[in-house]
């Protein structure tokens, strides 16, 4: 029993310590944003890595998300709700929840793992030490461009994902579910509220920060060799996914219950 309480205490203290260190790292990254122009080449490079590398994943995920949403919606609606509401159901689901969250989980996991593994390998092979001894701040040179790229590119990926998901929903509805093209498009226009889209994009902006922070933090704090890199990568991805889900709930309350709910 004593051991159990001890382990629980260690876990809580470890969690608090990580949170504190994460907050200090975030502050350092935000302070380094003033060098964004000077670091524009690295930032652009990271943005390309996120955008181009994630493109196939975004398109594949989104087209099926849209299609599945259409199939499930038709199944739920049949005999109760007119099909003209299909479009609005899909668009609202995609804009508010599915687009930002699924893209954050799928693309985010990819980027988070990539950041943690790359920076973790640099840590265990003394490349971070080499950078420090060269009087180059790794937070400015490595962390800030990745953070900014993730924060800026995730909303863009989400916009693309939203469009592709709607298109996937359209294809599934028209070609497999006997919904006419005009009914689907009429539904899309029905109850369209730009705040749904804006809310989703605000969420993805914050998710982009969470993903980058998790990858960078665990990468920078990697210990040991290959095993340590693997462990850091796994922890970063799990931490990022859990944080996204918790943040999603909190943001849903703040954005859609408090700010947008006039």
């Amino acid at each position: 029993m004593t051991a159990l309480i001890g382990n629980l205490g260690d876990l809580v203290i470890g969690g608090l310590r990580s949170t504190g260190r994460g907050a200090i790292l975030l502050r350092s990254i935000l302070l380094q944003l003033r060098f964004s122009w000077r670091m524009r080449a690295e930032i652009m490079e990271q943005m390309q890595v996120v955008a181009i590398g994630s493109l196939p994943l975004v398109i594949t995920t989104s087209v099926f998300v849209g299609a599945v949403t259409a199939v499930q919606a038709v199944y739920q609606m049949q005999a109760y709700v007119p099909m003209k509401f299909l479009g609005v159901m899909i668009s609202k689901s995609v804009f508010i929840e599915l687009g930002p969250v699924l893209i954050a989980l799928v693309v985010g996991s990819r980027n988070c793992a990539s950041y943690a593994a790359e920076l973790g390998t640099m840590k265990v092979t003394e490349q971070l030490d080499a950078m420090e001894i060269m009087a180059i701040d790794p937070v400015r040179y490595l962390a800030m461009p990745r953070f900014l790229a993730s924060v800026l590119m995730l909303p863009i990926a989400t916009i693309l994902a939203n469009a592709v998901a709607i298109f996937g929903g359209y294809l599934a509805s028209v070609f497999t579910l006997d919904v006419t093209s005009s009914t689907f498009i009429e539904g899309l226009r029905l109850f369209y509220d730009p705040l749904d889209l804006i809310g989703g994009l605000i969420k993805s902006l914050i998710f982009g920060g969470i993903i980058a922070m998790s990858g960078i933090y665990f990468g920078f704090n990697t210990e040991g060799g290959a095993e340590g890199v693997g462990k850091a990568t796994m922890t970063a991805v799990v931490g990022s996914c859990l944080s996204i889900l918790v943040a999603d709930y909190l943001l849903a309350i703040v954005l859609f219950q408090i700010i947008f709910n006039k």
Binding site: T125, Q127, A130, A135, I136
Partner: protein, 271 residues
């Protein structure tokens, strides 16, 4: 500016009376612990400006830890370090960064940046800390690569280089800003004897041509004897012996004798 005395007599415990007026590096009472293992335990050491000091000792005795403490890649738990009269242990981040520009560091595994070409690796410091044009940076990087005997590797990635070439590229990166101090962490470890000797020659050449102060950590005795002006033996968390190459060769100090003769029995133990 006040002239610094490079010939202050060493006190028996490797301390100087006034570290702030010593030209070189003064390490005073530095301790470092990792978990339950006390790696450095009140280490004292002096490194004179312009000399090549080789720190020898068994693996795991804290030689690399001591090296990293000098430039604060690791923070000492206790003790103080001065470099040219400036107390490193008390520096803020900005001053520390400025001080580090005086240093080159050759890491054991070279620590070249995987994602950058060799040329970019070597030129990165110039890119960050000077106003030189891209052309000038490339030219200077090629010059340094040529100095360490590397030609036609500028646009290669480090993964395309052999171990010896990586070490030489790491050395080119370390000297690109013409540092006053170069720290070498096991420069010949993992290399074949011929490549290792070529690295030794480079270290001697750089010391002679650039007049740098070199601190070399190694347990490769032929290398140590070849490059050292002075040697220090680290064991049990402290410097146990310092002396010239000749003094090390002829000393009766049991730890030094056991180490340089490679005996499994003696005060250092076998495991």
């Amino acid at each position: 500016m006040e002239a610094r005395d490079t010939a202050l007599p060493l006190l028996p415990d490797q301390r100087v009376a006034d570290p702030a007026s010593f030209a070189g590096v003064v390490i005073e009472g530095v301790s470092k612990r990792f978990g339950s293992k006390q790696v450095l335990d009140g280490t004292d050491l002096l490194i004179r400006k312009g000399e090549t000091l080789v720190i020898i000792g068994r693996s795991g005795e804290g030689k690399s830890v001591l090296l990293k403490n000098i430039v604060r890649l690791l923070e000492p738990d206790a003790g103080r370090i001065w470099i040219e009269g400036q107390e490193v242990t008390g520096l803020n981040q900005r001053d520390l960064m400025n001080l580090r520009k005086k240093f080159g560091f050759l890491f054991q595994g070279a620590a070249l940046f995987d994602s950058m070409t060799v040329c970019k690796n070597v030129g990165l410091m110039l890119e960050e800390h000077t106003d030189l044009s891209a052309e000038q940076i490339r030219s200077r990087a090629c010059e340094c690569l040529a100095l360490v005997g590397l030609d036609n590797v500028d646009d290669k990635l480090p993964s395309a280089l052999s171990g010896g070439m990586k070490k030489r590229a790491g050395l080119a990166r370390a000297i690109v800003m013409e540092p006053e101090y170069i720290l070498y962490d096991e420069p010949t470890t993992g290399l074949d004897p011929i490549t290792g000797d070529a690295i030794n020659d480079l270290i001697v050449k750089l010391q002679k041509e650039l007049g740098v102060t070199s601190i070399v950590v190694t347990h490769d005795m032929p290398s140590a004897f070849k490059i050292a002006d002075r040697m220090a033996m680290l064991a049990r968390g402290r410097i146990q012996f310092t002396g010239t190459v000749e003094e090390v060769r002829t000393t009766d100090h049991p730890m030094v004798r056991q180490f340089i003769e490679g005996n499994a029995t003696g005060p250092l133990g076998a495991f």
